[in-house]
Subunit: 210 residues, 2 copies
Amino acid sequence: MSTKNKILDAADVLFADKGFNGTSLREITSQANVNLAAVNYHFGSKKELIKAVMSRYMDELSPQLESALALICQAERKPSLQEVFYAFIEPLLKLNEFKENGTSTFLQLLGRGYTDSQGFLRWFLTTQYPDVFTNFTKAVKKAYPELSTEEMFWRLHFTMGTIVFTMSSSEALIDIAQNDFNNQLDIAGVIERVIPYVAAGVAAPITNYN
Amino acid sequence: MSTKNKILDAADVLFADKGFNGTSLREITSQANVNLAAVNYHFGSKKELIKAVMSRYMDELSPQLESALALICQAERKPSLQEVFYAFIEPLLKLNEFKENGTSTFLQLLGRGYTDSQGFLRWFLTTQYPDVFTNFTKAVKKAYPELSTEEMFWRLHFTMGTIVFTMSSSEALIDIAQNDFNNQLDIAGVIERVIPYVAAGVAAPITNYN
DNA sequence: AGCCAGTTTAAACACCCGTTTAAAATAGCG
DNA sequence: CGCTATTTTAAACGGGTGTTTAAACTGGCT
């Protein structure tokens, strides 16, 4: 395997686990069995490595996500909100074929990107992959047309927060479910449980604010 | 003002903004106009300072929170989920009297505690202030008795994630609402919008998992 | 074989971190 | 005032960080 990929494979696990700021290049390179200087030689800087880690996942995910959402947008029938959210599941779970534990690793990375480093990754994602966001907004609008654009903005942000936060602590949650409730779950099980929650949240009745 | 309080005041804003790991003692002490060594003199270590910052808020909040929830638990009438969540609003907003921007600062800190430093703060909160959590669980159970303990555990965690994640980026959100929707909000406005969402999420119909 | 672009390596760089030290300044009190 | 205990201060400590350097090594080409 190429040095570049060895670095990427070691980096995304460590980044997901301990955050971008919490992971040093020395940890990454020793885990990957490559020289410390290799990161700067192949990627230029730590910041660029972070972008490369995210891009590798997004480039795999976004085409599938877009086509799944496009299918909903182009259909004649009005979709349910559950349907819209389930459109994410298959592409997300396919990341497990792309890389071992790919799904949870990616979602954890997404969470890290929102909280670490004062949101530069949020900027990176929304500018590099804007179509995913607009298609998602369209699909939700089709499923729940009464929702104003502003209200939808809020509820989609709440949804993003729920997913991202849940996934960034998914390992601990799976442990708790195992110990306290004797229920052995995997990442798909967590997703199954969060979808009804966020779908109901987005579908909440419209309230008037004073 | 005492050196101790100068440090606490500077620390919680910086911690909320940039995370615990992302904030150095040198930043804190220079912001507070005190000597670098003062932190270790008055608090012992950085870790103890973090605990002190959180304790200052929790000691202010938890008694009010507990009594508000106890009121619901002791009432004869079955409460609605919205009611349970609204019980948080008043105590939380009172933190603004306790300290400028106290509400959002505290909620941001809560979010940091969940994602930074691999959850040692989560342990700190649940062991130091367990009554808040048990009272909350009781109140929700009273409002929605059909929900199993496990399902409730999941949904309350999702709720925590939504709140915490929303608040840790509340400033950016308020800016967007101002620019894109010409809607001037404060922290109370954000809370008003998130409550219907989480209440609907917790109230979601029970699904059977295969 | 000789050459050379591409890659790897060990070492060093400059900087920031949390913590500790010991001396200096301050405040409280008999 | 003079003594003591508390607090503040500047400086240093040991260690970790991302990045850079220049030399060594590779594999493929003529």
